[in-house]
């Protein structure tokens, strides 16, 4: 944990992640002020009687962009931290020192994961606490218990997603024969999960891509089967769905409980896969 905390890459990614999450709140606040300013001028000119579009938004509105930043910046940060954690030991041969102690390989790997989990939890905790403060300032009062609970729920879900990607990084750091592959493989998997799989779901309904008017939803058939298969696998989509529902984004529909179940399930499976890494693999050198 200490080595991860001291790593420069980790610092850089951490600052970018925290910065983006905080920027998310500030962007929301600026948007609100700009739109409200224009709205008030338009109302003063007597050009509209419609209500201010920001009048009914929840304070958590300002945190919605953070969902995307967690998926994009946070996941990459988690992958890099995960790869570094296991690859460093293989490169420096410190694995032999560790495994010659009365410590099992499972304990060692779970210990590394616990360290990463704490670092990720601290990053998320700092980011979301600062966001909470900013939103409270924008709101003119501290967020209520219910909204604070939702922010905590979103933070927990972010931790689940990022820890899963950290595990993916640990796994490729343990399994790859070259340093470049160790980083490249999880990035490819991440881009497939974050971009390709959701596109497959969308492309399965080509009309919705071409026609700006929402297509009448069809039930059954090939498209739905594809969607049923790719949907749960695309855990970033599950994260977006569950987080948006937690943050009371009414534009998003879905089953938050199902999405959370998928996310926690994938995390558990990844933990088992990483913990099952044999000692010989942990000790193996790199072909570089």
């Amino acid at each position: 944990m200490l080595t991860t905390r001291r790593a420069r890459t980790a610092h850089l990614l951490l600052f970018v992640f925290i910065g983006m999450i905080i920027a998310s709140s500030i962007i929301g606040w600026v948007t609100n002020r700009t739109v409200t300013g224009v709205y008030e001028k338009v109302v003063a000119d007597g050009l509209t009687t419609a209500p201010n579009p920001f009048a009914g938004v929840t304070p958590l509105y300002y945190l919605r962009n953070a969902v995307i930043y967690v998926v994009l910046i946070g996941s990459l940060m988690a992958i890099v931290l995960g790869v570094q954690a296991t690859l460093r030991d293989r490169k420096a041969a410190t694995t032999d020192l560790v495994l010659s102690r009365p410590v099992g390989s499972v304990s060692r790997l779970l210990g590394q994961l616990a360290g990463l989990g704490v670092v990720l939890a601290a990053s998320i905790g700092i980011s979301f606490f600062v966001s909470w403060v900013i939103i409270s300032v924008i709101n003119g009062a501290p967020l209520g218990w219910a909204d604070t609970g939702r922010v905590i729920g979103f933070a927990l879900l972010s931790w689940v997603l990022l820890t899963t990607f950290a595990l993916l990084g640990m796994l490729t750091g343990l399994r790859s024969k070259q340093e470049t592959t160790a980083l490249l493989v999880p990035f490819v998997i991440w881009s497939a999960v974050a971009f390709v799989l959701p596109q497959i779901g969308t492309a399965a309904r080509p009309v919705s891509l071409l026609n700006p008017v929402p297509a009448v939803s069809s039930t059954g058939g090939y498209f739905d089967i594809v969607s049923m298969v790719t949907g749960p696998v695309s855990m970033t989509e599950q994260f977006k769905t569950a987080s948006s529902i937690i943050l009371q984004d009414t534009a998003v529909t879905g089953n938050a409980a199902f999405s959370i179940l998928i996310l926690v399930g994938v995390l558990a499976v990844m933990m088992v896969i990483v913990a099952a890494t044999p000692r010989s693999r942990m000790r193996s050198g790199l072909n570089e």
Partner: protein, 245 residues
């Protein structure tokens, strides 16, 4: 007869069809400094890896400090210290942080006092707040010895401990090994290429050739058995090549 700190019985290790260790049977008495000699690829590192439980033997068994490497690997690990060849540490951590980490892995709950004691033994005080990444090769090797003896092991394994050290570093390391053996009664098992160091530090030697033990005896008896040879180097080449009358 001294009781064995290390005893192997037909210990073998294969990688696919390649035999790295072939029915190795040797015994190292308690309190000995044992030097395992052999060319590159003779099986020295494999022997140490099996004895430190990093590798499982394909056949046979070994006992280290009374614990079986196959049946009681955790017992072996608790009783030994190990310094691999060319090991690095966590460069962005200080000496103290590195040693704390390894001490806790060995079960020491409040290790700071013990760490200071070990650093004093190794004459390595005053560097505890320095990052290990800034250390010379010789200093790193002392960190390696320090982490290996933190938990007061009864057997210490050193794999090519003098590799890459300058003459000063070699001498310091030799003095450390002799001191650990003399003052703390530690049994020391080391792989080495430096025959001049073997004569200065080891009490007994073994010679491996292609995974087979071709010679094992005390250093004094080995030297006495070859009165015509000028040095251990000559004896080593005769034994290693199999040209022994």
């Amino acid at each position: 007869m001294t009781k064995s700190a290390i005893a192997t019985d037909n210990l073998s290790k294969s990688y696919g069809s390649g035999v790295a260790l072939d029915a190795l049977s040797l015994a190292v008495g308690i309190g000995e400094v044992f030097g395992l000699l052999g060319h590159n690829g003779a099986g020295k590192t494999t022997t140490v890896n099996v004895l430190t439980t990093l590798l499982e033997p394909t056949r046979g068994n070994a006992e280290v400090a009374g614990h079986s490497v196959t049946a009681d690997a955790m017992g072996v690990r608790a009783a030994i210290g190990y310094l691999p060849e060319n090991v690095q540490f966590y460069d962005n951590l200080t000496l103290m942080e590195n040693l704390r980490f390894f001490a806790r892995l060995s079960g020491l709950r409040r290790p700071d006092q013990r760490i200071h004691d070990v650093l004093r033994i190794l004459d390595f005080e005053g560097h505890d707040r320095q990052r290990v990444g800034t250390f010379s090769k010789g200093m790193r090797q002392r960190v390696g010895i320090a982490q290996a003896i933190l938990h007061s092991p009864s057997v210490l394994f050193l794999d090519e401990p003098t590799s890459g050290l300058d003459p000063e570093g070699v001498r310091t390391l030799r003095e450390t090994i002799v001191r650990l053996n003399a003052e703390f009664g530690m049994t020391i098992f080391m792989n080495t290429h430096l025959l001049s160091e073997v004569t200065k530090t080891c009490t007994s030697i073994g010679i491996l050739r292609n995974g087979k033990l071709v010679h094992q005896d005390t250093l004094a008896r080995t030297l006495a058995d070859f009165p015509g040879e000028e040095s251990l180097e000559e004896i080593y080449f005769r034994l290693e090549s199999g040209h022994v009358s």
